[in-house]
């Protein structure tokens, strides 16, 4: 069977669909993403705590949104990227795509949990309750269970190729939950407030608040890429552990 090719700018990008070729590339990219993530996080925290003004309605409790909103965005974005790689893996039968999906799942679950946790800590002083079963909160909780389901299924099936396909189907079916989360505040009359930031209109908040939120979102995004690349390298080594290149690479990198 001939290899598929996708040539853009004299580079055959399918070359990097092989775990062996991607492993060193991922390793070279990690420091860039990690350090820019750290820089954005420091700048974002500075703006969030020392530049953004006190909210005239919520007081200082609103500063939770600098974590909550980026985490909630990431929880949905990571799921879409994970489902995208799972779909690519199903269509093209590329092992690396499935490995990317598997590498994203734990970080997606992490950001979903952080979104729920910080939302709860914001809800208590603002709404007077830690939790309500409203559409936004419930669909976000379902997202957390989708990530857990993906991870449990991955762990439960011994044969990696079968686990990959089963997880990919689960990930793709679960995509239906993402628009439900996103539009829940419009479709249902929920306790959760509507979007303060949308793609179609100017943000309804102070410019410095918005800057802080964007910097924190950028930090979360870069962090996620660094972490996913780091994790996918471990997954590649785990699955290719009996290949010559992996044995040599592991030997060289351990010393």
């Amino acid at each position: 069977m001939s290899q598929p090719t996708l040539v853009i700018g004299n580079v055959n990008w399918f070359k990097y669909a092989s775990p062996q070729a991607f492993y060193p590339l991922a390793g070279a990219m990690i420091p860039w993403f990690a350090w820019t993530a750290a820089a954005c996080c420091i700048a974002g925290l500075y703006v969030s705590f020392f530049v953004a003004p006190t909210d005239h309605q919520q007081g200082e409790s609103y500063r939770i949104i600098f974590i909550h909103v980026p985490a909630a965005w990431m929880s949905m974005l990571i799921y879409l990227v994970m489902a995208f790689w799972a779909g690519v893996g199903l269509v093209f039968n590329t092992r690396l795509s499935h490995m990317m999906a598997a590498a994203l799942a734990p970080t997606g679950a992490l950001f979903t949990f952080i979104a729920l946790w910080t939302g709860s800590l914001w809800g208590k002083p603002t709404w007077g309750t830690w939790w309500v079963w409203d559409a936004r909160l419930t669909s976000e909780l379902i997202l957390l269970f989708l990530y857990f389901g993906f991870l449990a299924l991955q762990a439960a099936i011994d044969e990696p190729r079968r686990a990959d396909r089963a997880c990919a189907v689960l990930a793709l079916v679960g995509v239906v939950n993402i628009p439900i989360i996103y539009f829940s505040v419009k479709w249902w009359n929920t306790l959760h407030q509507g979007a303060s930031v949308s793609l179609t209109s100017a943000p309804t908040m102070a410019a410095t608040m918005f800057t802080g939120m964007l910097l924190m979102a950028l930090a979360a995004w870069l962090y996620c890429i660094a972490v996913a690349l780091h994790r996918v390298r471990s997954i590649i080594l785990e699955r290719e552990r009996s290949a010559d290149w992996a044995i040599h690479t592991a030997g060289a990198e351990r010393s």
Partner: protein
């Protein structure tokens, strides 16, 4: 800048539990994830090293 002093900063206008509860748990979870990542990588490196050419099926 909305803070007169450090103690004012840490009290977060009376919302210290909620604000610092959010930031502390997030920071802790990120640290945990990085620790787990590193240990997984160490295990993967050791495992690939053990499966020498003679150990292959």
């Amino acid at each position: 800048m909305s803070w007169g002093s450090w103690s004012e900063f840490f009290s977060m206008g009376g919302y210290a539990l909620y604000v610092w509860g959010s930031y502390a748990v997030t920071a802790a979870l990120v640290v945990v994830e990085i620790v787990l990542l590193r240990s997984r990588r160490r295990a993967a490196l050791a495992q690939a090293g053990r499966a020498g050419p003679e150990a292959r099926p």
